[in-house]
């Protein structure tokens, strides 16, 4: 196989990085051209990625890898470089496509913001880091970019830094994902000392964790493998918003909407899924770890979906849906269906980006995020509405949209593995998903306008924003055909394993039924023409609704369990530091001082006192002499 372009794959992350540097250095001067630069760099990366992809058509394409020494530490050398496998080339395509479209979209969306150049610089940095993450040949380099994308996400969430909410959300995003990152870090520490030659290369990991035998050969016990896998998964949980580390993701919606689409829907949050897929061999040898992944994934899927039922903020609904869909992917991986999981990642990236950009288009037009203040937008924003509808259907799993195929693949995997519980959860979550998307769509886009003033100012977005919507809509429509039950080539290409015959008509029927039922129920409850001021669900089950709306009180729980105790401990330690630790110092100095004062008290000016003191000293010396044990007699 020719590897002409693969040799230049290092340029894929580098081009956006250069764009970032230029934007940082000259941003203020080039102002308007900033978006163009960002767009071009992403486009260049996209073109190169596609060229690389063409070289990797055949399923038996060799892994292409190249590294250089980063730092020498005695007997250990840490290396950096890039590696191309079919999995990460797929990711490259996803990232560059979404990034390009978001850059284009943001040109319109951010029009008039005087910190545009900063925005595009951040996006370029993010794109670069994300691409770097994807091509990392070893876990350490991945971790470095992993942190960097987190930092970019932090910067972009806090882009409107003067809003206290944005500040809080940015901080929260960083810290919560950091918790996960520490898991990954410890996993790296553990792997570093377990692996032969301290190697953290994915290829070596794959060899070592190939089977129980090869593990035993390298002296790694099953228990340690479970630990490593679980710790890596903790990292993935943080980034991919899995329960209980999901809380940052909905709050992250404080950032500009293009960011939500790029980072918090399509790419970065999927990094956790990518990580698990990339290190899947480790998980594979540990049934316990697999069970954990599947269990947490499944729980997150249903958990987030239920919260999505009760949100009013358009972006938050989408955010919870993202959490839920990420749970799906994790569940797939936990079931061993790597192909299905990655496939869902692939399709989800497009339709979720589409939904977010659509939501952005709406927000751009009406300046509110509360769906109950919208209504009837479909009449004013044709393109947005239609593309949004496509995205919503894809998400709801309505055939033939892409989401249907990928979700079906996951459900089929659960079914085939006889995981009844996970299957039921998957179906339920699909149902809820379809329901809340229907709710969102009908409330916001159909019916009578809720607020005339808002309705008046609504308008279709400029073409720089609608073109990405259309492109993504097309992708959301067709992406699913890459891997249908009738065409398993994708699976072979991706994992190298023979195609699983996962065409299961029963599952398909159940899956479609869940989606359609959800949509129908949504239509019944929120169909146009009703008074849409009231949420039907809220009326029906107010207490339950309240719990869902408050997101199961998880934030409050964390506040009470972690944040406040930490602050109390901190205050307590502060007092200890001031009064005990420093107090000890003060005590010692007071003691010395007191000793001096006591001695000084003798200096009363009376010479006879001085004589008596000396006499006492004499007596003390005599006693010392006796104490020395060689007395007089």
């Amino acid at each position: 196989m020719e590897t002409v372009f693969s040799q230049y794959a290092w340029a894929i992350p580098t081009i956006p990085l250069l764009a970032f540097l230029v934007l940082t250095a000259l941003g203020r001067q080039i102002k308007g051209a900033a978006s163009l630069l960002g767009l071009l760099s992403s486009l260049a990366a996209l073109v190169l990625s596609v060229l690389v992809l063409t070289e990797r058509w055949s399923p038996d394409a060799e892994v292409y890898s190249h590294s250089i020494d980063w730092v020498n530490l005695g007997e250990v050398t840490l290396r950096v470089g890039y590696e191309l496998t079919n999995l990460n080339v797929l990711m490259l395509i996803v990232v560059t496509i979404v990034s390009t479209l978001v850059n284009l979209y943001a040109k319109g969306y951010m029009e008039g913001d005087d910190r545009q150049h900063v925005f595009f610089a951040y996006i370029a940095l993010f794109t670069s880091s994300m691409l770097g993450l994807v091509v990392s040949p070893n876990l350490l380099q991945l971790y470095m970019f992993w942190e960097l994308v987190g930092a970019c996400s932090f910067l972009l969430i806090g882009f409107w830094y003067d809003r206290p909410a944005a500040r809080a959300a940015a901080k929260k995003a960083f810290i919560v994902t950091r918790i996960g990152d520490v898991g990954l870090l410890i996993a790296i520490l553990l792997l570093f000392w377990q692996m032969p030659d301290h190697s953290l290369d994915f290829s070596v990991i794959q060899t070592v964790f190939q089977s129980g035998d090869s593990l035993a050969q390298h002296g790694i016990t099953a228990g340690i493998a479970t630990w490593i896998a679980s710790l890596i998964f903790i990292g993935a949980m943080g980034k991919s918003g899995q329960f209980p580390l999901h809380t940052w993701l909905p709050d992250a919606m404080e950032g500009p909407t293009p960011i939500s689409a790029l980072i918090h829907a399509a790419t970065m949050v999927a990094a956790g899924v990518y990580l698990v897929a990339r290190t899947f061999s480790i998980f594979h040898v540990s049934p316990t770890a697999m069970a954990i992944v599947a269990g947490i994934g499944g729980f997150t899927a249903i958990f987030a979906a239920t919260i999505g039922l009760a949100q009013r903020d358009i972006k938050r609904i989408l955010a919870y849906s993202t959490v839920s869909q990420l749970g799906y992917m994790m569940m797939a991986l936990g079931l061993g269906a790597v192909t299905a999981g990655v496939f869902h990642l692939f399709t989800h990236a497009f339709f979720k980006a589409l939904l977010f950009l659509g939501a952005g288009s709406v927000i751009h037009a009406v300046h509110t995020q509360d769906i109950f203040q919208m209504g009837g937008l479909g009449r004013k924003m044709k393109v947005t509405t239609w593309t949004f509808a496509i995205g919503a259907m894809a998400l709801s799993g309505i055939p033939p949209f892409s989401g249907f195929w990928s979700k079906d693949a996951i459900l089929a995997a659960a079914w085939e593995q006889d995981h009844k519980l996970l299957f039921v959860i998957g179906v339920l979550a699909a149902f809820f998903t379809a329901f809340y998307m229907a709710r969102l769509f009908f409330v916001a886009f159909t019916g009578k306008p809720a607020d005339d003033q808002i309705y008046q100012q609504a308008h279709e977005s400029p073409s720089s924003m609608t073109i990405p919507l259309v492109v993504l809509a097309v992708l959301a429509l067709i992406a699913g055909f890459v891997y249908t039950p009738f065409n398993g080539q994708f699976g072979i290409w991706l994992t190298g394993e023979p195609a699983e015959d996962h065409a299961n008509v029963l599952v398909m029927i159940i899956s479609v039924a869940a989606g359609v039922c959800g949509v129908l129920l949504g239509y019944v409850l929120y169909r146009p023409g009703q008074s849409q001021r009231v949420d039907k669900l809220e009326q029906a089950a107010a207490p339950l609704f309240r719990v869902l709306e408050r997101k199961y009180y998880i934030d409050e729980l964390y506040n009470w369990l972690i944040v406040r105790p930490l602050r109390v401990i901190g205050k307590g330690l502060d007092i200890i530091d001031r009064y005990v630790v420093d107090g000890l110092v003060r005590f010692i100095s007071a003691f010395v001082d007191g000793w001096g004062r006591t001695s000084t008290r003798v200096q009363n000016g009376q010479l006879q006192t001085y004589g008596i003191v000396s006499l006492f000293g004499f007596v003390a010396l005599v006693l010392l002499m006796l104490a020395l044990g060689r007395g007089f007699w």
């Binding site: 020494d69 980063w70 730092v71 020498n72 530490l73 005695g74 007997e75 250990v76 350490l140 971790y143 470095m144 970019f145 942190e147 960097l148 930092a151 806090g158 830094y161 003067d162 206290p164 944005a166 500040r167 940015a170 901080k171 960083f174 810290i175 950091r178 918790i179 990152d181 520490v182 870090l185 410890i186 520490l189 553990l190 570093f192 000392w193 930490l566 602050r567 401990i569 901190g570 205050k571 330690l573 502060d574 530091d577 630790v581 420093d582 000890l584 110092v585 100095s589």
Partner: protein, 536 residues
């Protein structure tokens, strides 16, 4: 240790180059502020250039080779006639400077931070002449500390740094400056006193040597020469010792000496619970001085612990590795939690220094090369980061008159440059890859995990906490709504921007290319690591 003795005494030139500036400054009348500033700054840059030249010429391929200068300075004949009847014994205090891979990054860092601190010192508004003289004298002491290879010479430089720092804090500090200066002096004096006792024990027991001079006459000396003492402590039959029992240092004594050294350097480091003095210094000293203090002076403790504690008493250190790791954990977590609740930004940074120094302890406790590399890396990295932080703190308090978190906010709007660098410093401090804090913490943890996995695991949680307190502190200043009376603030002037950019560049460079530090260090620490391998 073979050293290369070059014809030009580079090390002395470097160490005493600031004195040139002192001499010139003495001749300039104190009213000519501009000239005084210029000379002060230029002098620090001369040292910087010399250091960079040395760094550039450092040949890492010649393993273990160091620059070395050794002259007889003090050689005191001893009366032994009563005790032993041996004549011609001398107590030697050689002038012995050397620059090995361990010292080199620290020396370069010192000169950079000193030069930046001198630039930042234009904010000093009174008694500039005295100020710059003292600043330069301080630089001499700091450079000497990192290069001295004789125990007494090291002590002399170490102790010497106290004096200019005392002046600098006491004259140019904030309201409670005298108290802070006193705390600094007494606490650090205590540390060096304990260190001196430990050194005296080592010299008196293991510092003897037998030198055959050119004429073939045998000369018996006992000296504080580091390498002599190392050799004698290592040849454990000890009184291979010429048959003299006084030379033997028993295990108990070794342990006692080690503990003395640990406390001595621990005070400087600072180690919990010896840290309270440093809070006062951070809170009260003028910011250019804190740049040097937090950036360089604290590193002297860590450096001493490695170059002296570790090299001299490896076995004891190995025995106490767990203790060190626990102390490291305490430092990391205690510092982080306290940094989290402070409302004064200077104190946030002070506690964060405590937290960061925990990683240095980790690296030492690891007793392997990765860990030690991490420790050195953390020293260098934290040196730059805290210098940058305090540079910016100086700029902030000059503009707003306060560094209290509850009185600031939203400054990114009016002073974006300062705010951006503050954010970068914060991100570096919390260990973001690409900035210098990351490799430092990573290597420390990697190293320690190989020795004490549980400790590294607990310590890793410090990484979360550091994110918590750094973001709390930095975002409280830069993000959020801006107060009305801060609307008129002006962004950084050129003279502030230059040091900030240089320091940021250092942070980024080291973050991207850690081998800038690790390559020389490798030849500085490999012999230390070998001791652990041989000793088991």
């Amino acid at each position: 240790m073979v050293g290369q003795i070059s014809s030009i005494p580079w090390l002395s030139l470097l160490t005493f180059s600031p004195l040139l500036g002192v001499l010139i400054l003495l001749l300039i009348p104190k009213e000519r502020v501009f000239a005084i500033r210029t000379i002060g700054i230029v002098t620090t840059f001369i040292s910087l250039i010399i250091a960079v030249v040395i760094y550039a010429g450092y040949d890492a391929s010649k393993q273990g080779n160091t620059l070395l200068e050794k002259f007889d300075w003090i050689s005191i004949p001893l009366n032994l006639d009563v005790a032993k009847g041996i004549q011609s014994w001398t107590l030697d205090i050689p002038y012995h400077l050397a620059l090995d891979g361990l010292s080199l990054p620290l020396v370069v860092m010192t000169t950079i931070v000193a030069a930046m601190s001198a630039l930042a010192s234009v904010s000093i508004r009174k008694r500039q002449k005295t100020y710059f003289i003292l600043l330069l004298l301080l630089e001499v002491g700091m450079l000497g500390v990192f290069m001295a290879r004789d125990l007494f010479l090291f002590f002399a430089f170490f102790e010497w740094t106290l004096v200019p720092t005392f002046f600098l804090i006491g004259i140019w500090g904030l309201a409670n400056r005298e108290r802070a200066a006193n705390h600094f002096l007494l606490y650090n004096g205590l540390g060096s006193a304990l260190m001196f006792v430990a050194f005296a024990i080592l010299v008196a027991t293991a510092g003897f040597d037998q030198i055959t001079d050119t004429s073939g006459a045998v000369k018996f000396v006992y000296s504080g020469d580091l390498y002599t003492i190392v050799n004698h402590l290592q040849s454990s039959g000890a009184a291979a010792n010429l048959g003299h029992s006084p030379f033997f240092l028993s295990e108990g004594w070794r342990m006692g000496t080690f503990v003395l050294l640990l406390i001595a350097f621990g005070i400087k480091l600072p180690l919990f619970p010896f840290h309270t003095w440093m809070l006062k210094v951070h809170a009260e000293a003028p910011t250019p001085v804190v740049m040097l203090h937090s950036g360089v002076l604290l590193k002297m403790g860590a450096y001493g612990l490695i170059q002296f504690g570790m090299v001299l008493l490896p076995q004891q250190l190995a025995d106490w590795a767990t203790v060190l790791a626990v102390l490291g954990i305490i430092n990391i977590l205690y510092g982080a939690i306290l940094a989290f609740v402070q409302t004064e930004f200077r104190l946030v940074l002070a506690y964060s220094s405590i937290s960061h120094m925990g990683f240095v302890l980790f690296g030492i406790a690891a007793m392997n090369e990765i860990g030690l590399q991490g420790a050195v890396m953390q020293m260098v990295s934290h040196g730059f980061i805290s210098a940058l932080f305090f540079l910016l703190v100086g700029s902030l308090s000059e503009r707003t008159g306060t560094t209290r978190l509850d009185e600031l906010g939203g400054l990114a709007k009016r002073i974006p440059f300062i705010s951006a660098l503050l954010l970068i410093a914060g991100l570096a401090s919390l260990g973001l890859p690409g900035l210098s804090g990351f490799p430092a913490e990573l290597f420390s943890l990697l190293g320690l995990y190989g020795n004490l996995p549980w400790a590294a695991t607990i310590g890793a949680f410090g990484v979360i906490l550091s994110a918590v307190y750094v973001l709390r502190g930095v975002l409280a200043i830069t993000f959020g709504p801006i107060a009305a009376h801060h609307q008129q603030l002006k962004d950084a002037r050129l003279v502030e921007a230059v040091p900030a950019i240089v320091l940021t560049a250092c942070i980024v460079l080291i973050g991207l290319f850690p081998s800038l530090v690790t390559a020389p260090v490798e030849y500085g620490v490999s012999h230390i690591i070998d001791m652990f391998k041989v000793g088991g």
